[in-house]
Amino acid sequence: MKHGLLIIMMLFPLVILAQEKNEAVTEVTPKQKGKITGRVMGDDGQPMEGAIVSVSVVGNNNPDAWHLINADDEGNFIVSDLAPAAYTVFAESTAFVSPAVNSENKYYHLGDTVNFTLVKGGVITGQVTNTQGEPVIAAPLAIIRVRDAEGRKVNEQGWFSRPRKTDDRGMYRVFGLRAGKYLVLAGGKRAAGWGPQNSYDTDTGSYYPAGNRDSAIEVSVSLGEEINGINIRYRSEKGYSINGKVIGGPIGNLLAFGGISIILQSHPGHSTEMSSYIMPTDPTRSFSFYGVADGEYDLVANAGGGWGVEEKDSFFSAPRRIIIKGGNVANIELHLSPTSSVEGKVELAVSPEKEVKTECKSARTSIPAELVIGLRRDTGGKDDEPKPQNEMPVDVPDEKSEFKLKYLEAGHYHPNIVLPDETWYVKSILIKAPTPKSPAEKISAMTDAGKLGINLKAGEKLKDVTITVIDGAAGISGKITGEKNQALPPRLRVHLLPADKELAEDLLRYGEVKTKADRAFAFANLAPGKYWLLLRNVEESEAEEKPAPPAAWDAKLRQQLRREAEAANNLVELKACQRVNDYVLKLK
């Protein structure tokens, strides 16, 4: 995914839309070009002519890796002349959203067909009046999604296709909303920029219904639904200002994309409340926010990450906690430190057994350039931490099978590799120790990142990561059943654990999936061996869009999982290339 888009995905509640994937039999070679096709339909069965489809190479910063096209009058789209890689594909149309919510990125390859069904988003309307009951005119509306369709907590700054305002009667209408619960507020200035001013800029914003946030009422809306009468009593409450300076960062970079973004996040929740931008050419490096309401915030700065910005010009600041309580906050200093990166290559190992090759047939043959190399940050269970500024770093290997994950914050990460077809599995992820600086220094052994993850220091440029991928992968899929007449919990998670004690610490051998309404589960790209399957409830508080970190990451929890799995004793042995289908996993 290109960076511009990545940043956008970090800022906004973007959803990868409903997809179907039809894999044609294809032979892929590095030089070959191909196409991705699909169709965008409305839920009324009519083609969505003109819907925008984005097809972009995962992790690629180059603008030519991003294709934006309009669906034709039949709703069809075709992007041809694509090089082999992993792609993200999504479609949008004004006022329409996707009913499917999927927090995991789905990746597509040459020859894939991707079909989308878009549904008219929810609508909220109402009137904004002042304390005298007069209409409040031309006030900007903001909307915060606080609960998902199932009522679980989320915190997302709503982003309209275009910001809507109240009209001359104080009436407003916001549309294109995903299902869920919303806080609606009028007034305030939340986006960075130099627009025409209005008299609501200095106000903190008034929430439905009475103005203040504490008594705000959540408005529930479903797809295609229109909720009227969400009337807001506007209270012209002056907010406070925050100002400060950014220390360090890129020097003398006159390229516009090399500027510094400052983001004010709510605390907790970490949704973007306000943002500001410092021109790369601005020597003062100062920023200001106005109309900030009482409350707790985290302030972060970042630079770089845009097109054409070199790694040396990329910086992050540590988050700075700001508490606003009845006054302005001045002279905040945000110190920028260089970003880190992880560099390495993918090696394709050939499995020794000759017979495996013939048995392990796949619908397509893939090349390493179609892998997705990603990292997921492990906050050690601390949910309260500000969002990492690059939440899901990803890259695809180049023709030489080399990859580089840039723009990373210091922290602990786990590799997250997505393979292009079912025949491969990740054998190992090893980091070669740096060459000793003096003969006295011992050559330390390889670090096993598959087991331990990757510890990145601020500004560290980690090199020589080798990801070994091998064919002969096994897979298992099946269904969950209960006892007769037993009602199954709405959401269950299936865990996969290596049964072999020696592999107990190898995180690459663990897996977990959340089941959907059909109770089906599937694990693919597994190393041959013995596994336990374990069924657990999904925590009620866990939002669909924000899955909990894998349980196996936590050493204590891992031990517990192993104990439970051993007791449940759903043991399967998977041979190379073996596919176990229709496995029945019973809830006890």
Binding site: E92, G193, P196, L254, A256
Partner: protein
């Protein structure tokens, strides 16, 4: 426009426009003793509870900075106190009402050049209750047209036309509502001009400009008359959708080496019938790749212009290319670009400046600009910026062949002037001639810091100026190489010229018209003034309007 794409284009545009324009630090608020007051009326009656917004000139371009507010009392009077001497802009924030003085939503409002301790009274705002026009947009397939911009053109008495943008775009039902309109006659349309291309690269569908009640030609549109506080409903417009999805492919090539030029940002602009660029934007493929290729998708039929080095940040310059999309993609375009000149040298302060001022130097930036030969091709002109380095070093890259002029840039430069420019000790009175690829060194830009101010009032006798005519004032340094300093004259005839160095200046008053290119000649319109650093001089001028036929072509 969908979120992702809108964010993308908006961000790029925001950044694009901001090149060569510098945000600046907030300075601690000085508490002054000046006052500005006035009255807000609605159709002649005092209007209580109306918010008046006031901005200091220097704060207008400060990011996120909201205006200061004042609210009118029961008798419609507002008063702002404790104001320091500065240039202010005031406007009545009364959406739904019409202010005849306000030209657009971006209009800064009434200017007031306030002196220290001055009381500026009578800054009045006369509002009219606006009219409302509402209707629906749908297309030739019966679909609702969502988020389309509505254009209203006010038909003046003598054939003058004024384009007004509707308060908001159409909603998810295709419904639009334009309010706060000046009473009068209008034609109402939506969609984009069919001759000009369309820069909404990522809009779902593009529509051909159609006027109520459904005609393509502006002169056949039905004129509707709207009255004070009246709502004119049922202005439904059926739009025909335009084929979208054409693309322009171009290769950027170094004219000298024949090699592709990567990482160059190419803007796509719309052009009017005269070929003049009216607006430009960027697409996802606007930055040339390693093969020098750019690809701009999502275009409709119409006239376009490719703008080279649209971000003004590269080493190259080139010429604009005009293209017309008829009914197919445009491929195989070549844009030849050349490496611009590199000009290096120093920027130093003239003697006699204290440490404090010297420190400010590192926050200054300079621009070396070189214009394209044809003034229509303004976007192909280069404006290379350079910060002033620690040793006073400056370097300008990518400067196009031609005559280069140097300017100070941005608000930080306030108080600084370029007093002279030399190359290898000989003065450059009329800029510097450079050629592509040339490396010019030894340019010395001598800056002076001026802290003198001339403030005063201009009285006009011998008649009144027409509504469209305003006054301007400049201070021309007497007999030196220094640059002319311009001041602004407010609605009361008060002017201020700041940042002057010590010396003698000729103050010259002139006129400008917002409507025509002609000006009105003035008599007794100059005066010589001597100023001292750090001092404010007060000068009052009385100019007289020449004879009846004093409006002459420039």
């Amino acid at each position: 426009m969908p979120s992702i794409i809108r964010f993308f284009t908006r961000t790029v545009l925001l950044l694009g426009f901001s090149v060569g324009f510098f945000a600046h630090a907030q300075t601690p608020e000085k508490i002054g003793t000046g006052t500005i007051s006035g009255k807000v009326t609605i159709e002649g009656k005092p209007a209580p509870g109306i918010v008046v917004l006031i901005n200091k000139d220097t704060e207008r371009w400060e990011q996120n900075k909201p205006a200061t507010k004042a609210t009118t009392d029961a008798s419609g009077v507002f008063k702002l106190e404790k104001l320091s001497a500065a240039k202010y802009y005031l406007s009545a924030s009364a959406p739904g009402y019409y202010d005849a003085k306000k030209k657009s939503e971006w209009d800064n409002g009434t200017q007031v050049n306030l002196g220290e301790g001055e009381q500026a009274d009578g800054i009045n705002f006369a509002l009219t209750r606006g009219a409302v026009v509402t209707g629906r947009l749908f297309d030739d397939r019966g679909h609702k047209v969502i988020e389309e911009t509505i254009v209203l053109i006010k038909q003046g008495r003598e054939g003058q036309k004024k384009t007004v943008t509707c308060s908001d775009t159409s909603d998810d039902r295709g419904v639009f509502r334009c309010y706060g309109l000046e009473p009068g006659k209008y034609i109402v349309g939506a969609g984009t001009d069919s001759k000009e291309g369309n820069l909404q690269l990522y809009a779902s569908i593009s529509y051909t400009r159609t006027w109520y009640p459904g005609v393509a030609e502006e002169d056949k549109a039905k004129v509707i008359e709207v009255k004070i506080e009246e709502e004119t409903a049922g202005i439904d417009i059926k739009l025909s959708h335009k084929k979208k999805g054409y693309k322009v492919l171009a290769k950027i090539i170094d004219a000298n080496t024949g090699k592709p030029v990567p990482n160059m940002l190419i803007g796509i602009g719309t052009a009017n019938e005269e070929g003049l660029v009216t607006d430009f934007t960027f697409g996802s493929g606007s930055i040339s790749n390693s093969e020098g290729d750019v690809k701009i998708e999502g275009l409709t039929t119409g006239h376009y212009v490719l703008v080279p080095n649209a971000m003004q940040s590269g080493e190259y310059f080139g010429e604009q290319i005009k293209v017309e999309i008829k009914d197919e993609d445009i491929t195989g375009l070549e844009m030849k670009v050349e490496k611009g000149a590199i000009i290096s040298g120093t920027a130093i302060l003239a003697d006699g400046v204290n440490q404090e001022i010297q420190k400010k130097l590192s926050s200054l930036s300079l621009i070396a600009s070189s214009n394209a030969p044809k003034s229509d091709d303004w976007y192909a002109s280069t404006r290379s910026a350079s910060l002033i380095g620690a040793a006073g070093n400056v370097e300008f890259k990518g400067v196009r062949t031609g005559r280069v002029r140097f300017h100070l840039n941005g608000n930080e430069a306030k108080g600084f002037v370029i007093s002279r420019i030399e190359r290898d000790s000989s003065p450059l009175n009329d800029g510097l001639e450079v050629k592509a690829g040339e490396q010019v060194s030894g340019v010395r830009i001598v800056l002076a810091y001026g802290s003198a101010t001339i403030r005063g009032e201009i009285k006009v006798e011998g008649g009144t100026l027409p509504d469209d005519v305003g006054l301007g004032i400049q201070a021309k340094p007497a007999g030196t190489q220094g640059q002319n300093m311009y001041g602004s004259v407010d609605s009361r005839g008060r002017f201020v010229i700041e940042g002057l160095g010590a010396g003698s200046y000729d103050l010259v008053v002139n006129t400008y018209s917002s409507k025509t290119s002609s000006s009105i000649s003035l008599q007794k319109n100059s005066k010589t003034v001597q100023v001292t650093q750090g001092q404010e001089s007060t000068v009052n001028l009385t100019v007289s309007i020449g004879g009846k036929d004093s409006r002459e072509e420039k």
